[in-house]
């Protein structure tokens, strides 16, 4: 609306999505030493009546699909709920049975809130796949078993949490002081000071800071063994010691600008390592919850 270069385009809301809320009590389901590897939401898709399928196939021969989107619902202190898209997939009216969604990011968001007494709330929304004259009505006939006891416990939505014990598979925090790096076996953070004034290449142009404290991640991690896992590990079995949390490093530098010399502020992102951790190669990094 306020961009001069772009003409205003009027639109209408066109939504006839159906949605249901799922509430999962998380009490004692995730131990403080449990590293979340994967969270799976399993929904049971109820069969669609045959006569509906026939009618739909006649009316919309090329599209019998709808979109199912999973949202994480954040209950905020100001009373305004905020939703975050977690996973989405196409579903056909011809299908029936269990469908899985990856809700790891939702559980990670829930963990970041640090409110373990609050349940995990997910919203399942079934909506039209496309909008337009050829759009099918398939979304109206796709439904999942709810948490309502009337739907039966057998097909109730399930939340599967796969975790690893960080006591065994995680990093150990700070390294033992004064231990030679060659003797460190388990992943840990080793404090170090980078003295920028001592670096020959940085001479006369990195003006501030003179140096900074950081950590390096050293050592190795306990490797996964298939026989010790009671679920299918979705990532590589190889676990590595890496920088799990880091901070930015601002610098004042002097650079030549034509014939003169000017000073500039540069931010080096993720330069100061704060925490080390163990993770499987290929494991996605969870997004941070915005304030």
């Amino acid at each position: 609306r306020h961009t001069q270069a772009t003409a205003e385009i009027m639109g209408n809301f066109f939504s006839d999505a159906s949605s249901q809320l799922l509430v999962f009590s998380m009490n004692d389901r995730l131990s403080p030493t449990g590293e979340l590897a994967q969270a799976v939401l399993r929904l049971f898709q109820k069969p669609c009546p045959k006569e509906v399928i026939k009618r739909q196939s006649k009316m919309f021969p090329f599209n019998s699909h709808a979109s199912v989107t999973i949202y994480w619902v954040q209950t905020r202190e100001d009373g305004i709920n905020r939703t975050y898209v977690i996973d989405s997939r196409r579903v056909s009216i011809h299908e029936t049975g269990w469908i899985s969604f990856d809700v790891t990011q939702a559980v990670s968001y829930w963990q970041q809130q640090n409110k373990t007494d609050q349940p995990l709330v997910l919203e399942v929304s079934v909506h039209r796949e496309n909008i337009g004259p050829m759009a099918s009505n398939a979304h109206k006939f796709i439904s999942f078993s709810s948490q309502n006891p009337a739907d039966g416990e057998l097909h109730a939505p399930q939340l599967q949490l796969h975790t690893l014990d960080t006591k065994e598979y995680g990093a150990q925090g700070n390294c033992i002081p004064n231990m030679p790096l060659t003797k460190i076996t388990r992943c840990c953070r080793s404090e170090t000071y980078i003295n920028l004034q001592n670096l020959k290449w940085a001479e006369n142009w990195i003006l501030d800071p003179p140096g900074f404290k950081t950590y390096t991640c050293v050592g190795s991690c306990q490797q996964l063994k298939k026989e010790h896992l009671n679920f299918k590990w979705p990532f590589s079995m190889q676990r590595k010691c890496f920088a799990a949390k880091s901070a930015h490093l601002p610098l004042i530098v002097a650079v030549k600008d034509g014939d003169s010399i000017v000073t500039k502020v540069v931010t080096l992102y993720n330069m100061k390592v704060l925490e080390c951790g163990c993770a499987s190669v290929g494991m996605p990094i969870m997004k941070k919850l915005k304030p």
Partner: protein, 56 residues
């Protein structure tokens, strides 16, 4: 390794192909302007807040 990372990141951010070579006499009388210093301090504060909150 950290040294290399700093060097690489700096060159990228400043769009430089080579490490700048400045003489001591070039920078001796250089005064850091207030706006540069203010920006640096605010970024430094933000970085240490991050360090503190993440450290928790």
């Amino acid at each position: 390794q950290i040294e290399e990372k700093i060097q690489e990141s700096l060159m990228k951010q400043l769009n430089l192909n080579d490490i700048p070579v400045l003489e001591k006499t070039d920078v001796e009388k250089l005064v850091i302007p207030d706006h540069v210093r203010t920006k640096y301090i605010s970024l430094l504060k933000r970085s240490s807040e991050e360090t503190f909150s993440r450290g928790k």
